[in-house]
Symmetry: C2
Subunit: 343 residues, 2 copies
């Protein structure tokens, strides 16, 4: 059933590869041998170089639910690799032989594998100065940050509340806000994180451990008309934070660092202040918006990726130690990224 | 400081009136003597005939917060009365001498008083067949129901989930859905309420006490593409109900019958299914949308008010027994309405 594909002259592609699978819905992750997939029209085959463990990966691993077939599900939303084969189509051939950042398209084709097939439109070439490791993290965060500013633009919000601000994504939101002239109120939880933001020349930094935090947030949000809160912490301060927002504010929940099952919101606030709470999941957003438009924007900000936006990498693991990699990342998510490097 | 106003020939207006005030933020409600207010341009003075205790009144009484000045705050969102004086303006003069349904405009001018000043645009004349009592309840529910269908239209929702369906408002939502050709899934909590809905010829009735309720809701919501839930119950079934909605659904919280302080939502559902949760408060909505447009629609459905939509009145109280009226209503909100009748 192999389709006609064009292989890059010097690269030989094996028939079998190592990929990660969930042994049961509760884990653990384990390497299994499986067929190297074949790119269809508009698709490319990528030999993976590196892939990060992202919070969004963890959220999906934690709750694969009934939607995923564990026999075929390979995790991993983004990574870097070399395009070694292409299906029909101009863009697919354009990427042939190139080192790219890439995002997965199918549940059966994640980045946590030796090879991956994805749409050519979900790849973009990496500059020479960008390492395999940094390049592997260059899609999810920029696309998420850009999506946030699209939401801000559509909702005509004048300023943003950014929690947590010291994460790789949080810092990108601060930098993009600065670039786009939209004030960002950065929420951190200790002085060390505040110093990171000071290093980015952030104007508005609030420490959620301060006694006056909620009052300060209310004052600043009112003064700047910050009517949108992006939050992936979801901790027990959230109801009070929501209560401190101006009327008609939006709250966008894009993650759940505390791992709580439920979101708590003061009902009175939601009703009388007309607060709107929505979830954000990049996969859904990308499907709705089409990635190409975002790709163009990524190109514009890609220079940041090799300079200001360089992300701290704490550790790397081979695929065979994936469960260890995930556990290690979970232990301290703000200490730096953990990458998977296929052998 | 009295402005020039035109008084209706035969009606004499006293200088002082009885009105209800909160003695402290926690209550109780008590009658105080205060000045009869004077209508400004575009405003009318109404001698009140009847005013209901609505859930929205209770929500505001329970949490007057820092926004209200208890020295001047008179509760009561709607009522009926006779227009006895008018400020400058065509519409104000048009209503002079008329019996009207009316909504309050200012925190210092609620319907729970002998007289009230409000905008002429917040009044509409009552038909002869409508009693003072029924007429006093003819704004909040119809405007809320109409606002719901405006939200449904804007969001292009194909069907509605209506909880609780057996309330006066819930029944109006069912009737309007039928009129507008939008299927309504009516959620009730016992067989008696299911029978009320059957009496309205409702096609879709779910009893939340059934073991299969959540599964049935999921099946029906999927089949009808019911992507919007209007909920004022906020009980512990809500997270599961939200979990049973199709992706990209909206949840509109417009009340809080259980009196819980917090809304619980499964975080994973909100993020991965892109659920949006918002509050609805008629006062805010009316300010945003302008009431005149809604008034025209009210006229269209006003025939329902004296026939199908007749609301059961359980008890009436004079202003001097207002706290008793509120307590009585709170004891069993689904047993019928409680009205305040100024002496």
């Amino acid at each position: 059933m192999h389709q006609t594909i064009i292989m890059k002259g010097k690269v030989s592609v094996p028939e079998k590869m190592q990929a990660l699978f969930l042994e049961t819905a509760q884990g653990p992750l384990a390497v299994r041998l499986t067929d190297v997939p074949v790119p269809g029209p508009g698709e490319v085959l990528i030999k993976m170089l590196a892939a990060p463990v992202n919070p969004s990966d963890l959220a999906r691993l934690k709750n694969p639910g009934g939607e995923l077939d564990l026999k075929s599900y390979i995790p991993g939303l983004e990574g870097s690799g070399t395009v070694v084969a292409a299906g029909k189509g101009l863009m697919a051939h354009l990427w042939l032989g190139k080192r790219v950042a890439c995002s997965s398209e199918y549940p059966s084709g994640g980045t946590w594998a030796q090879y991956m097939v994805t749409r050519a439109g979900l790849c973009f070439p990496l500059g020479r100065k960008v390492s395999d490791e940094q390049g592997s993290m260059s899609l999810v965060n920029p696309l998420t940050a850009l999506a946030f500013f699209e939401i801000v633009r559509k909702g005509r919000h004048k300023a943003i509340i950014n929690n947590p601000a010291a994460s790789a994504l949080g810092r990108m939101v601060e930098l993009l806000g600065d670039k786009k002239g939209i004030p960002v109120i950065n929420v951190v939880r200790n002085q060390k994180q505040a110093d990171i933001l000071k290093g980015l020349h952030s104007r508005f930094i609030l420490n959620s451990s301060d006694h006056s935090f909620i009052a300060d947030l209310a004052t600043l949000a009112k003064a700047l008309e910050a009517t949108i809160l992006f939050d992936s912490v979801c901790n027990n301060q959230l109801p009070e934070m929501i209560g401190s927002l101006p009327s008609d504010s939006s709250v966008i929940i894009y993650g759940n660092l505390t791992g709580e099952e439920y979101l708590l919101t003061g009902i009175r606030q939601v009703i009388s202040k007309h607060i709107t709470i929505s979830g954000f999941y990049l996969g859904n957003h990308a499907r709705r918006n089409g990635l190409l438009k975002n790709m163009i924007e990524i190109m514009k900000v890609s220079r940041l990726l090799s300079t200001d936006m360089k992300i701290h990498i704490r550790d790397t693991f081979p695929l065979s130690r994936a469960q260890e990699a995930v556990d290690s990342y979970l232990e301290n998510m703000s200490a730096g990224k953990v990458l998977l490097i296929p052998e």
